[in-house]
């Protein structure tokens, strides 16, 4: 397991930022989704060993962060959300310094600095002072800083913040390429399209607790399948029969109905309800749910947070 937390609780005085968060990340590219104040940054802080949890345990790459925090930080990369740069230094000097701080020999750090800047598309600007970079270039620089020491896992905190559409597309492409290099990625963001575009898995956090976890495709398909149904004639009898068969029927757009089926046999149930009610189905199509719908459903869902797989 690349990352595992059990019963994690982080407090700042009387404020509880994370409350009993248990999750497991097996590897690959994973999105850490949640609204502002959900506890994403506090979670990353705890994972990096920068705050001491009030309770619970975190393991990163098989290492306990409480006891072996420095080893963990040597093997993970962190791209901060804030506009962090090293003052009075060009990109190469900054990356060499950050590389050596991560335990790299000087020569290797110098070579890696050039390779990493080339990778993120800053090769032409490598000898310019970073404080003079544009916003997009600074974001790329921070990504390079997270990668220079060849981490096994990178935490990217809102990597597309403040980028124009082209810059955003390039950044997301870089995130995908990092995953392709065999580096595990945990992308913390509140932007659902970023997660959909880059990640295979998603963790949804709200109020310091895990609300949802799973593969993005599975989540879209999970629970109830939804169909757009159009009928010829009166829909009332169909509604009655559908309800009797356990289907949920709601008004859809363009005179159609949205029918949610509890299992994978949804089409058969819809046709059975139509047959019993004497209705004729003129159109039937499965509606793919967006991650946004899944996300909001998970946040709106009442009751206890689901436990992550593997726990």
């Amino acid at each position: 397991m690349i990352l595992r937390s059990e019963g994690l609780r982080v407090t700042y005085g009387s404020t509880v930022a994370i409350d009993g968060l248990s999750l497991a990340f097996a590897g690959g590219r994973c999105g850490l989704l949640g609204p502002n104040g959900a506890g994403k940054s506090s979670f990353l802080r705890a994972v990096l060993g920068l705050v001491r949890p009030a309770a619970g345990k975190i393991e990163v790459l098989g290492l306990d962060t409480a006891r072996r925090g420095r080893e963990v930080r040597a093997r993970v990369g962190y791209m901060p959300e804030r506009d962090a740069v090293l003052p009075a230094a060009n990109a190469v000097a900054s990356l060499v310094h950050l590389g050596t701080l991560s335990g790299m020999p000087d020569r290797l750090a110098r070579r890696r600095a050039h390779e990493t800047l080339d990778f993120v598309g800053l090769a032409e600007e490598r000898y310019r002072e970073v404080t003079g970079y544009s916003q997009g270039m600074r974001q790329r620089f921070r990504l390079a800083a997270a990668l220079v020491h060849d981490p096994d896992l990178v935490f990217l905190d809102e990597p597309t913040n403040g980028l124009d559409p082209a810059g955003r597309r390039d950044m997301l492409d870089l995130v995908r390429r990092i995953g392709g290099l065999g580096i595990h990625v945990l992308l913390s963001t509140h932007l659902l399209p970023d997660v959909e575009a880059t990640c295979e898995e998603v963790l949804v956090v709200q109020a310091g607790t895990l609300r949802l976890q799973g593969k993005i495709e599975d989540l879209r398909r999970a629970a109830r399948r939804t169909f757009a149904v159009r009928l010829a004639g009166d829909a009332a009898p169909f509604r009655r029969e559908a309800a009797a068969l356990g289907l949920e029927v709601a008004e859809g757009s363009r005179d159609g109905l949205r029918v949610s089926a509890p299992d994978t046999d949804g089409t058969a149930l819809i046709f059975r309800a139509a047959e019993r009610s004497g209705s004729i189905v003129t159109r039937l199509a499965e509606v793919r749910r967006t991650l946004e719908e899944v996300f909001f459903e998970s946040l709106e869902a009442s009751g206890p947070a689901p436990s992550p797989p593997g726990n």
Partner: protein, 287 residues
């Protein structure tokens, strides 16, 4: 001309954890020495020492073959070293403000802590690295010039006479030790101001105000209380008293006793270290 393949790829190497202090110190030194102002101030800081050497050279009569026949060569006594280091203190303060005030404040302003402390670097290593670099630079314009003058003075003897190294060897630890105390204490004060500011300029202004005001305030308190010990609260008076003790000179006019000066210096250093330590914390990384 070789063509390098710059494609990013995974690599394997031995990650050495724990060398952060030297890495921070090295980078701080490099960054400071790159600045033109640092070089100019550094050169200015050596003026008293070079002036002293020139003075010694002329006074010793070396230009005229070491003075008149039967005359004595001129050499520096502890009092002259005390005065030399007194002059150096002015350059030390200017240099400390110019080089040290931005050392941590600029890192804070640019959120560099987030990049530093997400690596295997402790706040103690970070502060220690900054401190070492600044102490080294400050010592290079206080203790080092004084040692240079001592070396010059001791070697400046007429041909055939033994050198004065052995005779004046007791000055070596005094000059080095006092230079180190002066540099270390000043570095600690500047870094404490720097760590608690978000801009190097602000830190410089606060530091300058504090040390410019400390002297008149201490003198005023001395007048009111009638106690010379209180005058040790002033930066100049405090180091003056310590210097006089180091070079075994009598207390100056209304000069504070050595014990009071040492106690004030220790307390101020402890306070500065506490302020520095509590301002530089990894937990401030993300808000």
């Amino acid at each position: 001309m070789p063509v390098y393949d710059l494609a990013y790829r995974r690599t394997s190497f031995d990650r050495k954890i724990g060398g952060g202090l030297w890495a921070v110190a090295r980078r701080s030194l490099r960054t400071s020495l790159r600045s033109r102002w640092t070089k100019i101030l550094f050169a200015l800081g050596w003026i008293p020492a070079l002036g002293a050497c020139a003075f010694l050279y002329i006074q010793s009569g070396a230009l005229a073959g070491f003075g008149p026949p039967g005359g004595r060569s001129f050499h520096f006594q502890p009092n002259q070293y005390h005065l030399l280091l007194n002059w150096s203190r002015f350059f030390l303060l200017v240099f400390a403000v110019a080089v040290g005030s931005g050392a941590i404040a600029e890192d804070r302003r640019h959120y560099a802590f987030e990049l530093y402390f997400s690596r295997p670097l402790t706040s103690l290593e970070y502060v220690g690295g900054k401190f070492l670099a600044l102490v080294g630079l400050l010592f290079a314009i206080t203790g080092l010039p004084a040692l240079f003058v001592w070396l010059f003075d001791a070697s400046l003897v007429p041909e055939g006479e033994p050198s004065r190294f052995g005779e004046t060897a007791d000055l070596l630890p005094r000059l080095g030790g006092y230079g180190l105390v002066l540099s270390a204490a000043t570095a600690l004060f500047v870094l404490a101001f720097s760590a608690n500011s978000r801009s190097g300029r602000h830190a410089a202004i606060f530091f300058a105000i504090f040390f410019v005001l400390s002297q008149p305030v201490a003198e005023m308190l001395g007048q009111i209380t009638g106690s010379d010990a209180v005058r040790a609260l002033g930066y100049w008076r405090c180091f003056e008293a310590i210097s006089r003790e180091v070079f075994e000179l009598p207390r100056g006019f209304h000069g504070p006793p050595f014990r009071a000066a040492a106690a004030v210096l220790l307390a101020a250093c402890a306070l500065a270290a506490f302020a520095l330590r509590s301002a530089v914390r990894p937990t401030r990384v993300v808000r």
